[in-house]
Symmetry: C2
Subunit: 243 residues, 2 copies
DNA sequence: CACTCAAGTGTAATTGAAACACTTAAATTT
DNA sequence: AAATTTAAGTGTTTCAATTACACTTGAGTG
């Protein structure tokens, strides 16, 4: 079989996954302590080596499955990282993916056995190698993507309230939005189906649950979609100048 | 050195470059006939294997240099392609880049010695492997990118006219724009410096040359930029529904 | 029964984008 | 030298989308 490219170099190829979750009003990252050398014990994103017989997507799904026990995860390729000395062990090319998971769905125990932990994106520690770069790139990509695809739903439980959805958008963009404008705009897309049931944890009055309409979602995925709002005047959560 | 990952698989890693140019009012792609097996003689984008001692960017620049003789090329990573059987020769992962070059700057002779040829994006032939996929993804990325970064200049000669610039935008987006709105919007960005000289090839009256202002360009690259216009009513160049 | 807390709701003002047609400059033709 | 041709150049009005903004409602708590 190896008849064509015999003189060319071969490389280790890793897959690294930036895993986002949303919990308690915060956008979070699933991080873990690396269990092998080099850099054993330091914080990193979840990764593994690409195997001979699997595609990039398959590799990423395998790694996500290992960590979370979940098979049906929203996932996209982010970018490849290939500086010669990025991995001090050996020259390794990393193909990074980003993924969105519903924190409640997640089998936390499984993640725990890997030493994994949810960390707020506002408190990301020093990570190994170029993983902080990957995370920043992932965040940027997520922020861009959510404008043109309603992927917020991938981070929420099946039933959710409008205040929850708004707080998710605010957590992702690190800026507050006007409640009336947000509700108007998101409802007029038709993406949300109102339930009769109310969520009563976070207020006395209770907020109606919604589910997102999978038909409309598919439609928008094909036809295109645009959902963006300026932040409330004088209310950037941080000194955060997004572009 | 090879002490850490000895049990892991290694892979051939290729770099493939989608090279865009603009000439005669058309957006073009630099394609070439493959000079080695497998698929020798078929159309492909320019590529090569990643070497042990070079980063991804360095690899891409080496390949662009080989083909065009140019060192200072606008270039971005596109995406990695890693289906197990994408290359019928052997399992090879390709990391694709896209690049913009000024056709006139290009040492055409050098490209010719590689059997390279500019092909309009409206007439892209069947390419080897998954290269047609790469090209489509590259086009999509270029179309998205030009909204938020004024990279059109990378495709034009140093001095260019407003009609030329508009025709570039129209070629990229495959739709016609209103002349008055286009000029107004692009001029009010301040990105363009008007020259005293006129271009006289394409009209009797002649059109003023402009150069783009590098200071402002840098500023916009940092601060963010947005330039998008709807197509002229009833004037899509093709039945092209862009999203 | 008063109070508290977050959920829920509509309109006016402003801004930004799109639509639209004639004049000008210079070369070419008669 | 006058008439014709060709593409360049130029402002204003209209319309649509987004933003700003404040009070009422419902239900649990003390």
């Amino acid at each position: 079989m190896e008849i064509f490219y015999i003189d060319e170099d071969k490389h280790y190829v890793a897959i690294d996954c930036i895993i986002f979750g949303f919990d308690a009003g915060e956008l979070k990252l699933l991080l873990l302590k690396r269990k092998f050398e080099p850099a054993k014990g330091e914080w990193s994103v979840m990764g593994g080596f690409l195997k001979r017989e699997e595609s990039l997507d398959e590799g990423a799904r395998r790694i996500l499955l290992q960590l979370t026990g979940l098979t049906d995860i929203y996932m996209e390729q982010l970018q490849s990282f290939g500086d010669v000395n990025r991995d001090p062990g050996e020259r390794t090319i990393s193909i990074a993916f980003w993924a969105l998971i519903k924190v409640n769905d997640n089998d936390i125990k499984l993640a725990k056995t890997h030493g994994a932990q949810w960390v707020s994106i506002e408190k990301i520690p020093q990570l190994i190698f170029d993983h902080n770069n990957m995370v920043q790139k992932g965040l940027k990509t997520l922020r861009n993507k959510i404008v043109t695809k309603p992927i917020g739903f991938e981070l929420l439980p099946e039933k959710f309230t409008l205040p929850q959805l708004q707080s998710l958008y605010e957590a992702i963009n690190q800026e507050q939005m006007d409640k009336r404008n947000f509700r108007k705009r998101i409802l007029e897309t038709g993406l949300l189906d109102k339930m009769e049931e109310k969520e009563k944890q976070s207020s006395k009055k209770g907020a109606y649950y919604y589910m997102f309409n999978k038909e409309k979602y598919r439609l928008f995925a094909e036809m295109g979609f645009h959902f963006q709002m300026k932040a409330k005047k004088d209310s950037l959560i941080k000194g955060n100048c997004q572009v």
